[in-house]
């Protein structure tokens, strides 16, 4: 590998590790919150049982409601774990046919807490029909995440972003709608900016602002196998 290649691989690796770290921290925080609620709900059921033994009138409705809420929390925690598991498995193959709408929905779901903390709503718009591209799934997820960071920093007054995947010749486009003002397509902290640049170069992708719509548009071409058979 030549020196620029080494630098590129290093930058992409660092961006990937940072992205996975941020997502893991966010998910583990959410799970911890769910566990905390389950802990309190189970404790409340115990408190109610102790009170009933001490002569308080039985209240099956209250107990049933608490049990149902524990089930709801477990269901939510399971959904969060499943999303992180899918992100982890996106590293299984470096070159795969990716269902882009599915990947967008996954990243949007993983960004749920980050968006909530920023008092924002991010929604993935379901496309009509299947939109696929041959690329590195994890690197694409990482690039989508960094684009969302950039878009969140430039969100308009509605504090709502829509992410739309659409077919685009020999590849796909991912549009982020809901931005305002002079959008910098490379926005965000310097480390993320450098990481995004390296990811775009590795994926053979472009990021631009559509001057007509104001959307941030990530264009991804189908990867071509390299001459020596190596893959990004």
């Amino acid at each position: 590998m030549t020196s620029p290649d080494v630098e590129l691989v290093r930058a992409v690796s660092e961006a990937g590790l940072r992205f996975f770290g941020v997502m893991s921290a966010s998910v583990s925080h959410e799970i911890r919150n769910k566990l905390a609620v389950i802990n309190e709900k189970a404790g409340l059921v115990e408190d109610i049982a102790v009170a009933m033994r001490s002569g308080r009138a039985p209240d099956p409705d209250r107990l049933e409601m608490q049990a149902q809420r524990i089930v709801d929390q477990i269901r939510q925690a399971n959904r969060i774990v499943r999303a992180l598991n899918r992100l982890a498995h996106s590293t299984d193959e470096a070159d795969a046919t990716v269902d882009v709408a599915e990947l967008v929905a996954l990243v949007v779901e993983l960004y749920g807490r980050k968006a909530a903390m920023a008092q924002m709503v991010i929604e993935a718009e379901a496309p009509t029909g299947e939109i696929e591209v041959r690329t590195n799934p994890f690197l694409l997820a990482n690039a989508i995440g960094l684009c969302l960071d950039s878009a969140m920093a430039n969100a308009g007054g509605s504090r709502a972003l829509r992410v739309i995947a659409e077919g685009d010749g020999d590849g796909v486009s991912i549009r982020i709608r809901g931005l305002e003002g002079d959008v910098d397509s490379g926005g965000g902290p310097a480390t993320d900016r450098a990481g995004l640049g390296s990811l775009l170069e590795t994926l053979g992708s472009d990021l631009a602002v559509d001057r007509e719509s104001g959307d941030l548009v990530l264009s991804i071409r189908n990867l071509k196998p390299r001459e020596n058979g190596s893959q990004p």
Binding site: A25, R32, N33, A36, N39, G43, L44, A51, Q119
Partner: protein
């Protein structure tokens, strides 16, 4: 002892208040900083239990706002993050710092100690 619980997770804070009531603690709760300030403006509390990280306002900022209303109020911070940074800030800013999930008996003990200190 009157306690103000503030956490953006409604199910957590409401249940915690119910459990504290079983232990003779008068606890009221809010899920936003704005509601917490409104509650504290209407009545006084001995201690506030605040989530460190909430949307719109951090536990640290909220503590400052509540202190302006009730300078004598004590504070316990709770976090689900458990990061080094949270620990450093929480320990420095509050009378006590606890990590989720919180053991209810430990919380009651902590509240009593903080109020009597």
């Amino acid at each position: 002892m009157k306690v103000l619980l503030v956490d953006d997770e409604h199910e957590l804070v409401a249940t915690l208040a119910e459990r504290l009531a079983f232990r003779g603690v008068d606890a009221q709760w809010a899920t936003t900083g704005r509601d917490a300030v409104a509650l504290a403006s209407r009545e006084s509390f001995d201690v506030a239990v605040l989530d460190v990280k909430m949307p719109r306002i951090s536990g640290i900022q909220l503590k400052k706002e509540l202190e302006r209303i009730h300078p004598e109020m004590k504070f316990v911070f709770v976090t689900g993050h458990g990061s080094e940074e949270d620990f450093r800030i929480g320990s420095a800013e509050a009378d006590r710092y606890l990590a989720k999930p919180v053991d209810i008996e430990s919380l009651v003990e902590t509240l009593k100690e903080v109020v009597s200190s």
